[in-house]
């Protein structure tokens, strides 16, 4: 019963597993800047990065491209690969928080901006510092609570 791992779309795309963690580090710094300066433009810029990561994939974001072109060539060790979907899911969650934060700023609710940015920052920081897997912890709970019991 390994239908999850055997699904062709899961087996299809593999990326360097170090890329998303590198991107999470930059994301955390950008979100920290947004939180400290209360500058909505910083959050909008990060929101665009999340949008690319959630739709096209984390390897196509500016941070992913920096990793691919500048960081990866300097790494010597063999690259561990991972399925693209877990980091893609994390980017979608980040996008959701960014949208809430941007909405908060536009509606002049600075608390909403701060809380949403704080959550996005917390997730990015956990990913960067602890290799936290957002999809592992959140996805099943999300499905469990959003689908009805039969």
């Amino acid at each position: 019963m390994s239908e999850v791992l055997d699904k062709p779309e899961v087996q299809k795309i593999y990326i360097d597993a170090r890329g998303p963690r590198f991107s999470a580090t930059i994301t955390a710094i950008v979100l920290a800047t947004a939180l400290v300066t209360h500058n909505v433009w910083v959050l909008i810029a990060q929101g665009l990065v999340f949008l690319i990561g959630a739709t096209r994939g984390p390897q196509f974001t500016p941070y992913g491209l920096i990793f691919k072109n500048l960081v990866k060539p300097r790494l010597k060790k063999e690259a561990p690969t991972e399925d693209v979907r877990p980091p893609k899911f994390a980017q979608a969650v980040g996008l959701l928080f960014a949208l809430v934060g941007i909405f908060g700023a536009l509606a002049d609710r600075s608390l909403i901006f701060s809380v949403a940015t704080a959550f996005a920052l917390g997730a990015a920081f956990l990913n960067a510092a602890f290799n936290y897997c957002l999809g592992c912890e959140m996805y099943l709970l999300l499905v469990r609570t959003t689908t009805r019991r039969k």
Partner: protein, 137 residues
């Protein structure tokens, strides 16, 4: 207006949670088992091992699920009385709710009667798995 207080709060809370999370991943804990619930071949879709079975719940958005699957499926090869059953959590939501599976990968250690004796969230270490299996008769 610049303020560093929210940033400090986020970093402290996230670090505390991160250390807790890191420390509990992979640990096989008997107190998390659902008491009295019996898993059968009919529910799992495969025969149980004659002594013990490791039932692994995985999902698509989960990187360590793959590593856990590789470890456990490789470990049971020389074991005649232990089986590794892999379940897609998303397509077994009723079972996931009954067993209160919250994150993936979660691996249940069950005895020959289908009673859970412990579970591990995250990828367990080889020695932890061996110890847990040795405790099941």
């Amino acid at each position: 207006m610049k303020t560093y207080l929210p940033l400090a709060v986020v970093l402290v809370l996230a670090s505390a949670y991160g250390f807790w999370w890191k420390g509990t991943r992979g640990a096989i804990r008997s107190n998390k088992a659902i008491p009295g619930h019996r898993l059968s071949a009919a529910v799992l879709g495969e025969e149980l091992g004659s002594r013990a079975t490791m039932v692994q719940f995985s999902s698509a958005f989960c990187t360590p699920c793959r590593a856990t699957h590789a470890l456990l499926s490789q470990m049971v090869i020389p074991m005649e009385d232990v089986k590794h059953i892999h379940i897609d959590a998303e397509s077994h939501l009723e079972l996931v709710r009954t067993l209160d599976i919250r994150s993936t990968p979660t691996t249940l250690f069950i005895n020959k009667d289908g009673i859970e004796v412990g579970r591990a969230a995250g990828t367990p270490k080889r020695e932890q798995v061996l110890a847990a299996l040795a405790a099941i008769n």
